[in-house]
Symmetry: C2
């Protein structure tokens, strides 16, 4: 499995993905699930992927080659805006389904992917999308300023409670790492290292892209600090004095 999370904040976007892929529990590898296209001064787009690795890699290759949308061939470097970028990815997913869907079905393999697209193209504000296996998609809004794909449940409670559109970027980085830590701790199919991308609004260049390993001092601080903080928080809550 996979866990990817994206925050849609006033100050910009924070994207985090794990790198574990597994075919069964005895065939585990490291693959980046974060792909970036950057045209400095003009656009930054990042795609995060969950699900069947052969499918997600094929979709990314199609996007590199160019995908036909509304009669014209486009890549993420040529689409005019983020909505078209999300449509283009959706079309690449549909093209891949047309190519592989029947063969996968014959082997009882599900065409099971989900993708996240975040970025900004000059002329509009940053946007964050979640693209489904059917090629349709939803977009994060100020009401729900985060999206998740893959093993999303373990890391959702902290996001539900703490993320708002006004959360500063640095707190956003903290929160996605806490959310990832909760997932890593409880589910073996999500694994370190993780890829972090920070994009500040109107920067039109990647602000930070960093691979964080288990040994990274800040990752350790989050891991140990958050565990300690949770234990402390629960110990400090009053005990039920009504239990006989």
């Amino acid at each position: 499995m996979t866990y990817c999370v994206g925050l849609y904040l006033k100050e910009g976007l924070v994207l985090l993905s794990d790198t574990r892929t597994n075919a069964g529990v005895d065939n585990i590898s490291i693959f980046s699930k974060m792909q970036v296209e950057e045209v400095p001064g003009e656009r930054v787009l990042a795609m995060l992927s969950a699900g069947n690795l052969a499918v997600t890699q094929a979709v990314w290759n199609r996007l590199q080659e160019g995908v036909r949308l509304n009669g014209a061939r486009h890549t993420l470097r040529t689409v005019p805006n983020m909505f078209r970028a999300a449509q283009l990815i959706g079309q690449a997913v549909r093209d891949q389904f047309e190519a592989d869907g029947a063969a996968l079905k014959a082997q009882d393999v599900r065409f099971d992917i989900s993708l996240m697209l975040g970025g900004q193209i000059a002329g509009e504000a940053p946007r964050l999308f979640l693209i489904y296996a059917a090629g349709n998609f939803i977009e994060a809004t100020t009401d729900t300023p985060f999206l998740q794909i893959g093993e999303h449940k373990y890391g959702k409670p902290i996001l539900d409670r703490a993320v708002t559109f006004d959360t500063p970027i640095e707190d956003g980085v903290k929160l996605v790492l806490i959310s990832m830590d909760s997932t890593l701790r409880s589910n073996l199919t999500v694994g370190m290292p993780v890829d972090l991308l920070v994009y500040r609004t109107d920067g039109f260049a990647v602000t930070l892209k960093k691979r964080l390993t288990e040994e990274d001092p800040y990752v350790r601080l989050i891991r140990e600090g958050w565990s300690a903080a949770l234990r402390q928080a629960y110990l400090e809550m009053p005990r039920p004095d009504w239990v006989p």
Copy 2:
């Protein structure tokens, strides 16, 4: 859906279940998912259930009527020990599958249940089991002193971090309520009120069985206190000073 959690502690057992059942999102009802058999001075057994309500109710009815196991008819009031009690429930599940499995399959309804059994029968220590739809089961141990059924992912991180076999009962009550709160907050198909059962080792009587509503002062304290504690904990973690 459902969320039920059981702690297997040195001091005894703590069991908590929600009460929401839903057929789609527009047909929501309250049903207790906790059934108790008590023979004061001799045994206490509690069964928690998740999954298809028609199936879990039928299983409970079979158990009331008596289930044939190894040539003799038993109920949870007559089995000689907890292992046999888990076997008996497993048998009731299999009998129900034999009765309903084909008809459910014809309607594309999955025979989808899981059950938890906790309790103590004089002559041995308290035990806690998780029984699958196939009628087989696992048992909690001192290494992993909790079990969950239903929507278990949201509420697992806090249990992974805080529950040990030596956790006191009162802290156990706190922890299952925090775990439930994380689930309620993030998943609409799990709902209040909740049923709490506390059993102290060698008590051979239910120590406490209580339905807790949203208005219960301790539930409110957990809900508001835990949200505030989480937010506080994350704010107190150092910010990443390496984000440009």
